[in-house]
């Protein structure tokens, strides 16, 4: 018998389940998964999902800017980078390279991120109002490392893509995609550590700064 069979047999014996392989129980497990029940949620409520998202993002240590439409985004990003004295060249999701970045004075490169990139610009799949969280799906035009390797991560959020909770984010992913991508990353503010004397330090291995530009 293989290690797999030994372990599964021990599990089954320990649980006191009859027979050698699950029959009806596995069907029941599949039925439970298919039914997709949702658990209880915290009772706190909010009227304006966008306001909630922005407020929680700031609480997580991100900075938030809000502009009227997508056309205003490149200038808003440039304004932020200038105000912080950050470089104006950035690695960007290939999905976003069609926007007028050069006109805003930014030099963007659509490719996978490298260790030397200082600014990364990404979109999001959607964003979660409950916690102020960005949800990013990896893919050909949305590589994962652009939100990880650079010291500054600028995320563009279409306000129509803000959902109440993580459950709605999963539902949206299932509705629009065929199965999960390689990586789903929920990002909630700049990276941090408290491993030395429980002192919170912003900027561990990931970005020191997360700047969210909401548009729409």
């Amino acid at each position: 018998m293989s290690a797999r069979d030994n372990i599964l047999a021990r599990v089954r014996k320990g649980l006191g389940l009859p027979g050698e392989v699950p029959g009806a129980e596995r069907e029941a497990a599949r039925a439970y998964i298919a039914a997709q029940p949702r658990g209880p949620r915290p009772t706190y409520a909010w009227n304006d999902g966008v306001a909630r998202f922005c407020e929680r993002s700031e609480k997580l240590g991100s900075t938030v800017d809000r502009v009227a439409g997508i056309a205003d985004v490149p200038r808003a990003v440039a304004r932020y980078l200038h105000s912080k004295g950050l470089p104006t060249s950035a690695v960007i999701w290939p999905a976003l390279q069609g926007m007028p970045w050069a006109a805003a004075g930014l030099d963007v490169q659509a490719r996978a991120a490298q260790g030397s990139d200082l600014v990364g610009i990404t979109g999001v799949f959607c964003a979660v109002a409950e916690t102020g969280t960005l949800m990013l799906l990896s893919g050909e035009d949305t590589p994962a490392a652009a939100s990880l390797l650079p010291e500054t991560h600028v995320a563009l959020v279409d306000v129509t893509r803000i959902v109440p909770g993580m459950e709605e984010a999963w539902a949206l992913m299932k509705a629009e995609r065929q199965g999960p991508p390689r990586a789903v990353n929920f990002v909630s503010g700049p990276s941090r550590t408290a491993d030395i004397e429980q002192t919170i330090v912003i900027g561990a291995h990931g970005p020191y700064r997360v700047h969210v530009v909401c548009f729409g």
């Binding site: 372990i7 129980e25 990880l148 199965g179 390689r182 929920f186 990002v187 030395i196």
Partner: protein, 467 residues
């Protein structure tokens, strides 16, 4: 990891007499406790969510084989190679096998307590490869050649001065005691390793049966690095970590991060499903998962099955007065605190960790804060009874209990014996009415005096009141 749980009492004595550890543990004190309390007050229906989370974990465990098979099928369908490890040694063997087959020389690791169970880093080094811990706390400990003392804050027992010394010595850099500067120093040391490693090894907070994914819940970003940059990713986790659905995960993670660090969510929650897809510009070319039994299946079908609900938040140890005083190393294995007092004897054998279930006042704080309602004091009592029944306790303890029992079963004898004991104790106490030493209970009186009992026993007083 080297098991020293059998010398728990000696470990404790040493830790209590260690002034720097005592200082560091005092500082540790209430911070996690306060942070958790603050963020829990945001949630009015906490109890409802705890009950749901415990039920989700129970559902996974009650049909663990079905959910594991479902997980395996989904993971394989998306290109993940699933390995099964019966023992901790098997974990090392499987991982080194994958590494050798792919010409791996450098491994970067994010936190994995399961890999501590098997002493993976030593095995990897013995196989001629380099394994580098990248979680800041774990990195500090790897430099110091020490095991973790807490499951989520592994270097909690170290002060900034100790870290400063260590970094200066190992990095050959000027000593600095500014905490953000030390963090940047570690970042700069580790960044080249992330970019040059052949393999990334992570733990797994949860396995999702629905999608065949592994989920990791982190703050530093190193978990994302090790699962994104190297060409091979291997996740190592226990078989009990499976959850049926993504919705179930959403319910449980709300409690995990709040209970652990007092965050409503951690900086990163990453769900990984299979290797790099066609066209992807980053991500590993190979994705593996090692599912580890190593004693877990033994708990199924027993009262201790409830301990497998554990989601490793660490709240039980943060709130434990024993842990707060002795730190994690005294427990002598991977999992300290109340959950360790239950899991260690179960995984390594009760006879090898005999004193751990005794390392509790049964005050119940751990059970109150446990997000998945594990009745930890009850489970420690189960293990205490088991060790007594199996004759594992020292003879004088067994005889005392038997003696007490025979008296307790004979009220006249009990009344007589207590009256006698009161008289003896009062005489021993002397003028200041305090007992500085108790024969046979030196450990108890080492740190405190026992007040002499009143001249009348409870029975006398009770009889008087009701006469």
């Amino acid at each position: 990891m080297l098991l020293t749980s059998s010398s728990f009492k000696r470990n404790v004595r040493r830790k209590l007499a260690d002034p720097s550890l005592q200082r560091n543990m005092k500082r540790f004190g209430g911070r996690f406790v306060e942070a958790r309390a603050a963020v829990m007050t945001e949630v009015d229906n906490l109890e409802e969510i705890r009950i749901a989370a415990a039920a989700i974990r129970d559902r996974s465990l009650a049909n663990l084989d079905s959910y594991l098979m479902e997980f395996e099928a989904q993971a394989q369908a998306r290109g993940t190679q699933v390995h099964w490890a019966e023992t901790a040694q098997d974990v090392n063997r499987i991982l080194i096998g994958i590494a050798r087959a792919n010409g791996v020389r450098k491994i970067v690791k994010s936190k994995s307590m399961v890999s501590e169970e098997s002493g993976l880093n030593d095995a990897v080094a013995a196989a001629g490869m380099q394994a580098i811990e990248t979680d800041l706390g774990e990195y500090i400990l790897q430099l110091a050649e020490e095991p973790p003392s807490h499951i989520i804050a592994p270097a909690i027992h170290k002060s900034v001065e100790e870290v400063a010394e260590l970094f200066s010595e190992k990095h050959h850099t000027p000593r600095q005691t500014d905490i953000p500067a030390l963090c940047r120093e570690a970042r700069e040391q580790l960044r080249p390793h992330f970019l040059s490693a052949d393999m990334g090894v992570s733990g797994g907070n949860f396995l999702i049966a629905e999608t065949g994914s592994v989920v990791i819940v982190t703050n530093e970003g190193n978990g994302r690095m090790v699962t994104t940059l190297p060409r091979i990713h291997v996740a190592i986790t226990g078989i009990e970590k499976v959850l049926p659905t993504l919705n179930d995960f959403s319910t449980v993670v709300r409690l995990l991060t709040r209970s652990a660090t007092g965050q409503s969510i951690t900086n990163y929650v990453s769900m990984l499903t299979g290797p790099r897809r066609d066209g992807d510009r980053d991500g590993p070319e190979q994705s593996h998962i090692i599912l580890v039994d190593s004693g877990r299946s033994r708990l199924l079908g027993t009262e201790l099955q409830q301990a497998l609900r554990c989601i490793r938040c660490g709240a039980c140890m943060n709130h434990c007065p024993v842990y707060q005083n002795i730190g994690g190393h005294a427990y002598g294995w991977v999992y300290p605190g109340p959950i360790g007092a239950v899991l260690t004897p179960s995984y390594v054998g009760l006879e090898n960790a005999l004193d751990l279930p005794q390392a509790s006042t049964l005050c119940g704080a751990c059970q109150v804060v446990c997000p998945v309602k594990i009745p930890l004091p009850e489970l420690m009592r189960v293990l205490r009874e088991k060790s007594f029944r199996q004759g594992l306790r020292p003879w004088h303890e067994r005889w005392s209990i038997l003696l007490w029992r025979s008296a307790a079963e004979r009220p006249w004898l009990y009344a007589w014996a207590t009256r006698l004991a009161v008289r003896v104790l009062r005489r021993l106490a002397g003028k200041d009415r305090l007992l500085h030493r108790l024969p046979g209970l030196d450990g108890w009186t080492e740190g405190r005096d026992m007040p002499a009992p009143s001249s009348r026993t409870f029975r006398d007083l009770y009889r008087k009141r009701h006469s």
